[in-house]
Amino acid sequence: MAAVQGGLVDAVEKKDIKTEPSEDSGGNNNANDGRLLSPPPGSSASAPGGNKPPAGAPEDQQTLLAVLQFLRKNNLAESVEILRREAGLPEDALDLKAGDSAGAGSGGAGGTVDLEGEDASSLLSRVTVSSSAAAQAPTKVTPSEDQPDVNVVLSAYSQQGDPALYGVYYSGLKRFIESVLDCHRAELSQVFYPLFVHMYLELVYNNHENEAKVFFEKFSGDQECYYEDDLRVLSSLTKKEHMRGNETLLDFRTSKFVLRISRDSYQLLKRHLQERQNNQIWNIIQEHLYIDIFDGMPRSKSQIDAMSGSLAGEAKREANKAKVYYGLLKEPEIELPLDDEDEEAENEEGKPKKKKPKKDSMGSKSKKQDPNAPSQTRIPLPELKDSDKLDKIMYMKEATKRIRLGPDNLPSICFYSFLNAYQGLTAVDFTDDSSLIAGGFADSTVRVWSVTPKKLRKVKSAADLNLIDKESDDVLERIMDEKTASESKILYGHSGPVYGISFSPDRNYLLTCSEDGTIRLWSLQTFTCLVGYKGHNYPVWDTQFSPHGYYFISGGHDRVARLWATDHYQPLRMFSGHLADITSTRFHPNSNYVVTGSSDRTIRLWDVLTGNCVRIFTGHKGPIHALAFSPNGKFLASGATDGRVLLWDIGHGLMIGELKGHTDTIYSLKFSRDGEILASGSMDNTVRLWDATKAFDDLETDDFTAATGHIHLQDNSQELLLGTYMSKSTPVIHLHFTRRNLLLAAGAYNP
């Protein structure tokens, strides 16, 4: 299997992960970190969505050519061949190109650059809008610059200024910004950090080591504290040689730092720089910064602080404009054999008999389609099996007995402690019906426990299965081997710590991902490994099954999130755009979207159908380790190492709340079944409960300045905090609400 997959995956990965020069040099990536690389044609062909392979578009063809050239340059003839065949390019297409580029420079980078340059500017014109000044196309990389690899990227730094003057320039600008009117000062201060970084990098690149050091020491203290981590990376970088292969540096360089500045403030800055003839700074702003200009009131310091903190500045407003169908899919019609008891229960609560108890709280009052929901067939979903229907019925029955939570009616919390785990517990998941718990461990094992009296049993061996009567009614019972019944089972297969774990909704499968770069699918019938999905060659940090089964999402150190289907050994979609490790991944309740959190401190929402990034959320000041959708699909909660929970409105693409209180990394977030309570679990050994209803209501009464997207966050964490529950030196790494709204928490006891 690996052999089959090898060629294509290699090709694709090289393109996506390594931020290859063939792309970067064209400024392609610079301009469109919001845009998505189209999924590779090979995999999209197998996508059930049936979207057309995009090979027809001219620009994609050019990208393809660039990739092909790169491959050829690296003597990956086989990959070239496969990719060419997949894309349906004529054999001479590449040769032609290669011939061209051979004339232009060594290795063919030059030719691509020319081609891509055009491409990029056309792209830019599409992406960039309001700003006339900043919308100038980025300086194209000169074709004469024929250094291979990173050098092309870095070469932009090659301009020479007097190194001694950098500090003078910088402090000149600082003086200016400090002297402007208060209302502009906060906005213009945003320029400091990217400017500082790029000036420092320029100094380092041009071998002015001592000047760089002086510059760093003099001004690093001025930067906002939430950039501390990046500054630490930066500080260790003192030589030109270090810049080669440093990922963080590449991120700075390849992505433009996005600033959101009001028109007035921007004019002020521009005038100042032009008056002073301060070309050094102006060049940096032109080249490495993307200034998103808006009309209206300048933002306040607190507004800016709420949104900044990511590796590459804020999200462009355009990035969050796409329409997101966040509504829920209609639940399938199931004849619910209501017995009298259930009817009574429903009548008591005055609810109409409904097939969709989940939707009660979400405003869709009738059975008709939610206007915000995607069409039922937007992505193909697996057919419901009989067992699924039974499970749905169980779910509905349970739902009628659900406790209604609220500030005056807090959930009970049952804590599952893993004993004797010796710090080795790395991931936990519960099944939706809370009957099984799975834990991933640092010693590569996966363990599954049954928390109900029903023990875990394997299916009998093939020989034994032949003996049983297949016609009998209890055949499902008979196929199980009573001798293997036990409370827990261990699954062996991974060769590194297991960082992510997820049950399939039908409880037949378990998905795990590990440091060894694979994702494994386990059968919970036979307790064996069924598939090892290879594709991430680096540690996979998180994986999750879609709420409808069949699909799953994974993300890892290679910065690419992949969407898989259980019956394909290659990914259906690759979502690339994050600038650092993808640390957590979650499916939207309607399975049409996935969300990924990253070490670049951004959250991205991806459309499963098109593969596009439809939302970018910035505001976290640390890697994001926890994500949770509200049950109605409208909101997203995220938790990071900075100990803060942020709430997002998906439809509007806005941050709508900040919950402060945790003192350490948040590893788990979960909404109650009706979405009234948000529970957060953290490394600081606490479970906290937040009033989600209030958090979302407060916002809706606010007049939405959706047009500008500049919200004013209230500091009401203390009001929203409903309870704090300390565990005994047990970090909380997973939370789960049972169908009746009992909160389950899990963690390993660390004496």
Partner: protein, 671 residues
């Protein structure tokens, strides 16, 4: 290797460069040291060039030029920082706070560098630090290991498997006070509450503390209520008990003074371990003091004993801040020591045991609570001495006073009791040899005499030079002299004998015996990979008492029980558990490597022959060896949770003999 200068990095002999770099990268000490580095100004941290030189030499590259050293050290520092940063990622995803060597291995793998094998230790970094001559050095201690030793040593027991345990973290928003949850009010907070009850609390400011610290019960409504009042005097909760708490209080107090011994043991265990009792503490304290007041008048010995055991349990509970209630508890305890009459039939009932027990309690509280401000110890000493000196004091009270003083330690015996031996001896002589006044007096005098002999002998044995001359003793100590002399000699011979070997009575208790329960506690202690077993020896089982029949009275001389945990054959360590010593009341455990010990068992507790570790009947032998009291006065008085040093050995870590009347009855149940 002569290519020098900074070119070494770019075009120099790549092999040499690689080699040096590899050598450095394979020094995990540096990696870890850098990873620990958390200073904000990191740009200045660079490896010293001397290290480069040293490492170059170690792989055979001599005479490295200064310039190349500088270049190398900068390069290497940078790489190491990179790796450390990556390693932190693995730490975060491993959901840990501690960076491990595995994280660094994984980070190296990311960079396509071969990981460093052989540094898999979880718990400690195997590096030693040495300094001297102005040089500091970290080195890896590589001992020569004799393979045959490894082969011949019995295998350590397999570590316990991962298991799952559920408990209620919160019930409808209220965190229950169960041992699995952290104590609702830490001792510090109880102290703050008791010392600063009138603290002004401003709204908003207290929110965090109350919600987080104790007030899990505080729902949102409650929280709002608090904000309205500007000044709160004391948290309401200290005065009100919830229905459950009232029920619990009733159950516990009834069980403590009831007739069922098993129930009582359970109740006392609960008092000694439950973390959430602080709200009930005032009630318990009143219960005890009132109970003593009434029962002394009624001469109800049994109830007094029960109440004293409650006091003991309260003192054993590590989560309680008892200082606030000493004014009630101490008088009650002192009453039980010195009261003229404690029982209906003083000639038959063993009220002496109660006095001894209470005296030990008193000594313990002196040790724990005495400070320069409250001066408990000196006040207590004064009280005892005063009534002892009184001519008219009865024998019972006299006994109590002496017992109370004697328990306070060897110093008190030396300064207060020894000088009065002659006088006391004369008084005893008057009763014993004089005309028969009353039987009760005689018994009293007899007890005082044996008490004095018991306590003084060991002290005298220590302070008096060797030749024990009966005549000399008579001169020095009067009537008691000859008896003292024989006791002292006995003490000396016993000490000498014990140094090598001990006597050999064996008592075998097989596992099925209902009084010995071995239970697996949930979580292991600090670092040990093993769950400690708790051996509960309920008070009905008298393990080693020179005066059998009085379960509530452990034998005063410090007796050491060496418990050898033997699992499936291999004897691995022994733990010395001092059960009841005169200085301290809590079992103190230490580990003795079994290889060096030539002790023979006095008491052997052998468990049944169930195979393996399954269930609560581990195949384990507990061999209890009794040692006579040694001169260890530095016994710790803390809870009996075993020292962590034990857990570094791979065997049974926490084991505890737990007698309900022996202090330190707190279970080691961290969760």
């Amino acid at each position: 290797v002569s290519i020098m200068g900074s070119e070494i990095l770019d075009c120099g002999d790549p092999k040499c460069h690689q080699k040096i770099k590899a050598a450095i990268l394979t020094d995990p000490c540096i990696l870890l040291a850098m990873a620990e580095e958390r200073r904000p100004k990191q740009c200045t941290v660079v490896l010293p060039t001397e290290s480069m030189k040293a490492m170059a030499e170690s792989i055979g590259v001599g005479q490295l030029q200064e310039e190349s050293c500088v270049a190398l050290s900068e390069e290497v520092s940078y790489r190491i920082k990179e790796i450390a940063q990556d390693a932190l990622k693995f730490m975060h995803h491993g959901k840990r706070r501690k960076l491990t060597t595995n994280d660094i291995d994984n980070a190296l793998k990311l960079k396509n560098v071969e990981p460093l094998y052989g540094f898999q230790s979880q718990e400690f970094i195997p590096f030693r630090f040495a300094s001297g001559g102005g040089r500091e050095l970290h080195f890896y201690e590589e001992k020569e290991v004799d393979l045959s030793d490894i082969i011949n040593t019995p295998l350590p027991r397999v570590p316990l498997d991962v298991s799952l345990k559920a408990h209620w973290l919160s019930i409808e928003g209220v965190q229950p006070s169960i041992p699995e949850n952290p104590p609702p009010a830490p001792k510090e907070q109880q102290k703050v509450e008791s010392t600063e009850p009138l603290k002004v609390v401003k709204p908003g400011q207290e929110e965090d503390g109350t919600v987080q610290g104790k007030g899990q019960g505080a729902t949102a409504a409650d929280g709002k209520g608090k904000e309205k009042g500007l000044i709160r005097l004391k948290p309401r909760s200290t005065h009100e008990l919830s229905v459950e708490q009232q029920l619990y209080y009733k159950e516990i107090t009834e069980a403590c003074v009831g007739s069922c011994e098993a129930k009582r043991a359970e109740a006392l265990q609960s008092i000694a371990t439950d973390p959430g009792l602080y709200q009930m503490l005032p009630r318990f304290s009143t219960f005890i003091s009132e109970g003593v007041r009434v029962n002394v008048v009624q001469n109800n010995l049994a109830l007094l004993i029960y109440l004293m055991r409650m006091v003991k349990a309260l003192m054993d509970n590590p989560t309680l801040y008892l200082e606030k209630y000493l004014h009630e508890l101490i008088p009650a305890v002192v009453t039980c020591i010195v009261s003229k009459q404690l029982c209906l039939r003083p000639d038959v009932d063993n009220h002496w045991a109660l006095r001894d027990f209470a005296a030990r309690l008193m000594a313990q509280s002196c040790k724990t609570f005495s400070t320069t401000t409250n001066n408990i110890q000196s006040r207590i000493t004064k009280t005892f001495t005063k009534s002892w000196l009184d001519e008219k004091t009865q024998w019972t009270t006299r006994y109590g006073c002496i017992a109370g003083l004697a328990e306070l330690g060897a110093d008190v015996i030396k300064t207060l009791i020894l000088p009065r031996l002659t006088v006391e001896g004369a008084r005893i002589k008057a009763v014993m040899e004089g005309p028969v006044v009353s039987n009760i007096d005689k018994i009293g005098a007899d007890h005082v005499q044996s008490l004095l002999l018991k306590h003084c002998a060991s002290v005298i044995a220590k302070i008096r030079p060797q030749p024990d001359n009966v005549e000399q003793y008579r001169i020095d100590y009067g009537y008691l002299g000859p008896m003292l002399c024989s006791h002292v000699m006995k003490a000396r011979t016993q000490a000498a004998l014990q140094a090598q070997q001990v006597n050999r009575t064996t008592l075998t208790i097989t596992q099925p015996r209902p009084t010995l329960t071995v239970s697996q506690s949930g979580l292991s202690g600090s670092a040990g990979p093993r769950t400690p077993s708790i051996i509960k020896v309920p008070s009905s089982l008298t393990l080693m008492s020179p005066r059998p029949g009085t379960p509530s009275q452990p034998s005063p001389p410090a007796t050491k029980y060496i418990v050898m945990a033997t699992s499936a054959g291999p004897a691995s360590t022994q733990q010395v558990i001092t059960l009841s010593s005169s200085q301290s009341a809590s079992p103190v455990t230490s580990t003795v490597p079994s290889a060096t010990s030539t002790l023979q068992p006095l008491v052997k507790l052998e468990s049944g022959s169930g195979p393996g570790l399954t269930g609560s009947r581990p195949m384990q032998k507990y061999i209890v060896v009794s040692l006579p009291s040694s001169a260890s006065s530095s016994l710790e008085n803390k809870s009996s949770v075993l020292p962590t040093s034990i857990s570094s050995t791979p065997i049974e870590a926490g084991m505890k003999l737990d007698r309900s009347e022996s202090p330190g009855a707190s279970t080691q149940s961290p969760h």
